[in-house]
């Protein structure tokens, strides 16, 4: 991301608009499709994904490498460059500082610059490389602050120091260079930087993957404390489902560019519906409780260049049938769940759900 030194062009933001309660989600991704154009054809990295993020909510996005989770998050902020192309869908941002919903797809480059970071900030993967090695911490923090907020040098310096307080790093470290900080401290600086402009949404892309468990836990705890204090929403991207179960309010399970299941952490943990979610849940060893039988997920994700019709998980699915080749991968309500927002892309997991295909009047019964 390039940071412009000039004052940003403000999005329409009338005085006194701050703090207006807006109903509905703060970010709505609707039917978003993203492809990477290659000589061999389009790699459909994200395929008609819809996901809502509500204010103050932690939504976890989980999937294997190459499942499209980072592409989805970056695409929603229009951060992708060619050969990535957004081939369809819309993204709507409804911030408290916005008088009306913002259609992210229609923004001009200047408007995008003020949306990014000011409204939606990102903590990038691998904090080791995301900081500039030749600038000290204060310079980098002040750079962000002055690029996005109208503050004097002195005010920006005070704010940078305040941000370090926020993430529990001593102010003495302001003059430190990245290589003088531990991995955990660098990650905290990245988080401080993301919070510099009081954003409404913070996207965290594997923020703790490179860290040790003890440090990871400290940082996650701190992220949640900051979230409760400042009220931003978090889209947390990771391949570690066990972490999300503890951390997230809602979890979206992604596979081959499509969402397989979305539900609350409790629903995903205790009543998983999609076979892929079930296999994911059985693929990490638990430290507590009785030893459970573990099974990985044999096979590899499909080639997104030539995705066969039907369910993309079919080749690795133990419950698959011929009918799976025919289905449209769309999310539908899990019938056994009391929560209408618990949705799955697999229509065949439950015997009575399979019957639903034949009896539409029964389906209308469960509609709330």
């Amino acid at each position: 991301m390039t940071i412009k030194r000039d004052d940003p062009v403000p999005l329409q933001r009338p005085d006194g608009a701050d703090g207006i309660a807006v109903g509905g989600p703060v970010l709505s991704i609707h039917d978003l499709s993203i492809a990477y154009r290659t000589p061999a054809g389009d790699v459909r990295a994200v395929n008609q994904v819809s996901l809502d993020l509500h204010a103050g909510e932690v939504v976890g996005l989980v999937g294997e490498s190459g499942s499209g989770k980072s592409t989805l998050a970056y695409g929603a902020c229009r951060l992708l460059r060619a050969p990535a192309v957004i081939t369809g869908g819309s993204v709507t941002y409804r911030g408290r500082r916005m008088p009306r919903p913002v259609d992210v797809m229609q923004l001009t480059p200047e408007q995008l610059t003020s949306l990014r970071w000011r409204e939606i900030a990102i903590v990038f993967q691998s904090a080791m490389n995301a900081l500039n090695p030749v600038l000290n911490v204060a310079d980098q923090l002040e750079d962000v602050i002055r690029a996005h907020l109208r503050l004097t040098r002195q005010q920006a310096a005070d704010k940078a120091a305040g941000l370090l307080d926020l993430v529990g790093i001593s102010r003495a470290r302001l003059r430190s260079y990245p290589h003088e900080l531990s991995g955990g401290m660098r990650q905290r600086v990245m988080i401080a930087m993301a919070l510099a402009t009081d954003p409404e949404i913070v996207i965290m892309d594997e923020p703790t993957t490179a860290l040790d468990v003890v440090i990871q836990r400290e940082i996650l705890k701190q992220i949640l404390e900051l979230k409760n204090e400042l009220g931003f929403a978090i889209l947390f991207i990771t391949h570690d489902l066990s972490l999300l179960l503890e951390l997230a309010d809602r979890i979206a399970v992604m596979y081959a560019g499509q969402l397989m299941e979305v539900g609350t952490a409790a629903e995903i943990h205790h009543e998983p519906s999609h076979p892929y979610t079930k296999r994911l849940l059985r693929s990490f060893p638990s430290l507590r409780g009785p030893r459970k039988e573990l099974a990985g997920i044999p096979g590899t994700p499909p080639n997104l260049l030539s995705l066969p019709p039907g369910c993309p998980f079919l080749p690795r699915c133990t419950e698959g049938t011929d009918a799976c080749r025919e289905i449209d991968v769309t999310l539908a309500r899990v019938r056994t769940s009391a929560d209408p927002s618990h949705v799955t892309a697999c229509p065949f997991v439950l015997p009575d759900a399979a019957a639903e295909v034949d009896s539409p009047q029964e389906a209308s019964e469960v509609t709330p």
């Binding site: 294997e64 490498s65 529990g168 790093i169 001593s170 531990s182 991995g183 955990g184 401290m185 905290r188 040790d212 468990v213 003890v214 440090i215 990871q216 836990r217 400290e218 996650l220 705890k221 701190q222 949640l224 404390e225 391949h239 570690d240 489902l241 066990s242 972490l243 179960l245 503890e246 951390l247 309010d249 952490a265 409790a266 943990h269 296999r279 994911l280 693929s283 990490f284 060893p285 638990s286 430290l287 507590r288 409780g289 030893r291 573990l294 099974a295 990985g296 997920i297 044999p298 590899t300």
Partner: protein, 353 residues
């Protein structure tokens, strides 16, 4: 003290009081490994668990003969190991092989899989003819479940997924027909969904080749499932050791307790992380200040972070003392940190049995 691994066979690779210092300029030394003793048994898995910088990988390098210990000895099948010459090193490597963490960096991008697997075969088994080498390579590929073997042997590393590359690393290590395999974080670069498959493959290879396996990891949960014995390392020292299930279910040393408590707990939905309640001690106290506290130079290395710290801990380093018949911990404050275990030690009972 006996170990769980001992029941499965005789010790194959034994390290006694290994110490490794690195000069870091200005006349000062980094004590990467301090007085570490361990034994690897044929057909058994010993896990070495600790955070970055705890010295786990240095132990692996010492055992692999890539670094010379500052003090201490290593013996293989009761013969002392002295890797001074190139030839001795090659001889030693045919017995003790190392698998690295990052399969993206450990394979040479300009060579095919065939080159990676056949080269150790040629180096360590000079008696083999070209046909035999080729046959062995195919057999190895099947053993690490990369089939059809010929297809995979012809590929370059960039054509393989992370899991497939790590399988090539396993095949390459096994090509020398070693008796000891040192696996340094073999699955931590891989996706969660394929980690388990790789560990079960490694377990399968251990059984089939009766390997003595050292599994180095920072993930104590995987060590619970995969290892017979766990050694917990902190600041270059082993602070606790014992059977995997006992260590993870009833950790004695305050550091092991912190490690266990820090692992994600899916059954605790929105629990400890959110309320800030993390048991009596640990994480919350650490979060306030610097994330990584340097180990103490004198006394117990964990004392700056330890919630049970007393004057004696700062003055005098605790030795690794038996807790039960199969466990040991290096802690002066065990009676406070793990009262039930300490009581059992006083009473001479084994609470874990």
């Amino acid at each position: 003290m006996t170990t769980v691994s001992a029941v499965t066979g005789t010790p194959l690779l034994v390290a006694s009081n290994l110490t490794k210092d690195f000069r870091i300029g200005g006349g000062s030394h980094l004590h990467a490994v301090r007085d570490v003793s361990l034994a690897l048994y044929q057909g058994a898995v010993v896990a070495l668990v600790g955070e970055s910088g705890s010295g786990k990988s240095t132990v692996a390098k010492l055992l692999a003969g890539q670094e010379q210990p500052t003090a201490g000895t290593i013996s293989l099948a009761e013969k002392p190991v002295r890797v001074r010459s190139r030839r001795a090193f090659r001889q030693y490597k045919s017995e003790v092989q190392l698998v690295f963490q990052d399969p993206f960096a450990s394979l040479n991008p300009v060579h095919t899989v065939r080159y990676h697997v056949e080269r150790p075969l040629r180096l360590h088994h000079r008696e083999l003819s070209s046909e035999q080498v080729s046959e062995r390579a195919s057999a190895l590929m099947e053993q690490v479940r990369l089939t059809p073997a010929d297809t995979f042997l012809a590929k370059y590393p960039h054509e393989l997924s992370g899991g497939q590359r790590q399988r090539v690393s396993f095949a390459r290590a096994l090509a020398a027909n070693p008796r000891v395999l040192l696996a340094d974080e073999p699955v931590s670069m891989l996706d969660v969904s394929i980690r388990l498959e790789m560990l079960s493959l490694l377990d399968d290879l251990r059984k089939r080749f009766q390997l003595a396996l050292l599994y180095i990891t920072h993930d104590i949960a995987s060590a619970r499932y995969f290892a017979d014995e766990i050694l917990v390392m902190y600041a270059g020292q082993i602070v606790e050791r014992g059977p995997a299930e006992d260590i993870t279910q009833q950790p004695a040393h305050p550091y092991t307790q912190l490690l266990v408590r820090s692992a994600p707990d899916p059954d605790n939905l929105g629990g400890a992380l959110r309320d800030g309640g993390n048991g009596a001690v640990g994480v919350s106290q650490l979060a306030s200040g610097a994330a990584v506290v340097d180990a103490a130079e004198t006394g117990c290395p964990f004392s700056p972070r330890c919630p049970f710290v007393a004057d004696r801990c700062r003055a005098e380093a605790p030795p690794l003392l038996p807790v039960t018949a199969t466990r040991a911990a290096a802690c002066w404050r065990l009676d406070v940190a793990a009262p039930s275990l300490a009581a059992a030690r006083e009473g001479g009972e084994d609470p874990t049995s």
